[in-house]
């Protein structure tokens, strides 16, 4: 691949996005099949209704430790959660890779723009949930 060629970026980003959605889709599908297999399909009560806040299911542990435990224990919920995390990580990895692709094109202005976007994105995702008063 010619890394100075602007078209390389289209090819690489297109592939990153494609692999990301295929991987997350596959994990979520496996989790869903696991959920159906372990819970049984016979629950016919209220076929179309599902109230997550009224009908409590297994508690969703959103901590990383809880997720790791669930994955090792083959909890279907945890595997679906992992698939969702891969899905959320896909556009983030696209921004990370863009920084390097613009650098390969020797486009300093867009290296800067993309690096600022990446910083804002990571700050918003990982820091603002823990700042008191945010997201109230």
């Amino acid at each position: 691949m010619n890394w100075r060629d602007p078209e390389t970026m289209n090819v690489v980003i297109g592939r990153v996005l494609r692999y990301g959605v295929i991987l997350s889709g596959a994990i979520i599908l496996l989790g869903t099949i696991g959920l159906a297999a372990t819970s049984g399909l016979s629950d016919a009560s209220g076929m179309l209704t599902y109230y997550p806040n009224i009908v409590p299911h297994d508690n969703i542990d959103v901590s990383l430790g809880g997720l790791a435990h669930g994955l090792v224990a083959f909890s279907a919920f945890s595997w679906i959660e992992l698939g969702v995390i891969v899905l959320i990580a896909t556009p983030v990895s696209r921004v990370v890779i863009s920084v390097f692709l613009f650098a390969a094109e020797r486009d300093r202005l867009y290296v800067l723009i993309t690096a600022v976007v990446l910083t804002l994105l990571l700050f918003s995702m990982l820091v603002t949930p823990f700042i008191p008063g945010f997201h109230a």
């Binding site: 289209n10 869903t32 959320i88 696209r94 863009s98 867009y110 994105l121 008063g133």
Partner: protein
Amino acid sequence: MFIVGFVLLMFLVSIFAGIFGSIVGLGGGIVIIPVLTILMGVDIHFAIGASIVAIIGTSSGAASTYVRDKVTNLRIGMFLELASASGAITGAAIAAYTNSAALETIFGSILLVSLVPMVMKIGEDVPKSPELKGVSKRLGLTGSYTESDGRVVKYNATRPVEGLAGTAVAGVLSGLLGIGGGAFKVLSMDLAMKLPMKVSTTTSNFMIGVTAAASAGIYFARGDVDPIIVAPVALGILIGAAIGARVLLRSRNTTVRKIFAVVLAVAAVEMILSALGVSV
């Protein structure tokens, strides 16, 4: 517990949402949220959590095709993401001090008003491209793509600062309400920057994944991303986005604009109804 009917129905609804969301660049949330809240009676928080995942799925699923085929303009997308990402953080910071019903009324009304210029441009295939100058030239906000009939469409962006401002509004809205960003992104690129309609919707589609990811952390941490709801939504959305991307590439700009105008009207009405207490 596993609810077969609910999962299958949400899977089918999400395919539909993915098809339309990827064509108009809004991401499918405007279909997912009302179906979950009104039809299924699911709490709005879980519906927004599912909608965030649906937006990221539509965005990445369809963008993989749009980027490869060069309909999405990567530089315009990255440039405008400066505004949408800053806006999302601002929205999160001021959320505690705002009244969401008032916001929805204001933004819903803006969307309704923006229907007028949108309808006036119905029938416009490719906008008359302005000369590339000033900030647009410095930032390389120009491009070209090939239509399915082999015609090459060249375009230059105009008024990048107005485009940036409109996109900042989109970001604030996403950070505040978790919804509604895509419409303002498409409108900014269409009305301010004068891009061809397919470039506007596919570049918005490309950006909304990043804007939604910026807000995903909080919904995940709160436990609003429920696996039973999100699993069929994500799977359906990814299939729908793959279909929608193929449809858009074969469609004319005029067709995409008509579909967008209809969806814009629905989004505006949904937002205003939500302000009036109908929980969509």
